[in-house]
Symmetry: C2
Subunit: 169 residues, 2 copies
């Protein structure tokens, strides 16, 4: 069982798991729909695999603390993510908005793992802190990739639109 | 009237206006509720004023392009932001989550103004590009402030919670 000292850490790990389930749903929806931006599609598909690994890591952390598999929150998160993905799909500039939204989502994840590492260290759970910081590094790599790729994607979107080519995805 | 060449730029300026209205609602709700984190409260209140100035800038850009004041989208954004703010208020770790959410929101704004500046330059609207980059610099300053302040806020939150003091806001 989780001790009081670990209660906040367990709650934040469960929240992170729900967040990653939402990320997986969003990324899969976005990656699956992209047609004309192959580098973006490939990087998103790579990050879907990373995200699945992160969820396993979080489960491992929760098991180490005697917590249970988080399922309920995750289910709610997944419904929200599906609605987000549908909303994005309706935009006539889906890929342009999608880059901004997924970049912001990565930044939310970075903030989440920074907070988790602090909470883990305070609870004396150094190995959990290390695992959170390793996940944070993956999120930073994805955020940096999106930031660096954004000007090129926006330019390609505007070029395609100006040429009356299918630009949306 | 906006020309075809400006149509995408006008649409993105209107989207940015709606985003800033949502930001204003979120920031006001968050800032107004914080009790025990005075530096964060002060920085958020400063950014509310900056956000209001940004909305005026966006209106000026739209007027320069012959567009109308964006109202409908903004109203919908405001309802969404109110729901977000209510959701956040129900969290027992409101301030900890709020820092991450507002940091991610700033990053979304940064991505938005980067895209806008590219679209403005392509439309030959250099002065609108400059105004967007000036707003982007304000968003970056806010994002950096939140990033730098986060460890201290998380630590203060965990300290207060451990001492059974009111930590939530």
């Amino acid at each position: 069982m989780a001790t009081d000292r670990n209660a906040r850490l367990v709650e934040w790990l469960e929240d992170a798991f729900a967040m990653e389930q939402e990320a997986e749903t969003l990324l899969k929806a976005m990656g699956g729909r992209i047609e004309h931006y192959p580098d973006l599609k490939a990087r998103i598909e790579q990050h879907v695999v990373e995200t699945q690994g992160q969820m396993q890591e979080l489960e491992g952390c929760l098991e180490a603390l005697g917590g249970s598999k988080p399922t309920l929150k995750a289910a709610a998160g997944s419904v929200m993510a599906s609605m987000h993905a549908m909303g994005n799909a309706m935009m006539n500039d889906e890929v342009a908005k999608g880059v901004g939204i997924s970049y912001a989502f990565e930044q939310m994840e970075i903030a989440t793992y920074r907070a988790l590492a602090i909470a883990a260290r305070r609870a004396g759970q150094e190995s959990i802190a290390e695992r959170c910081l390793a996940i944070q590094a993956q999120e930073e790599a994805m955020a940096n990739w999106l930031y660096d790729a954004q000007p090129q994607i926006i330019t390609a979107f505007l070029d395609r639109e100006a040429a009356e080519m299918d630009a949306k995805r």
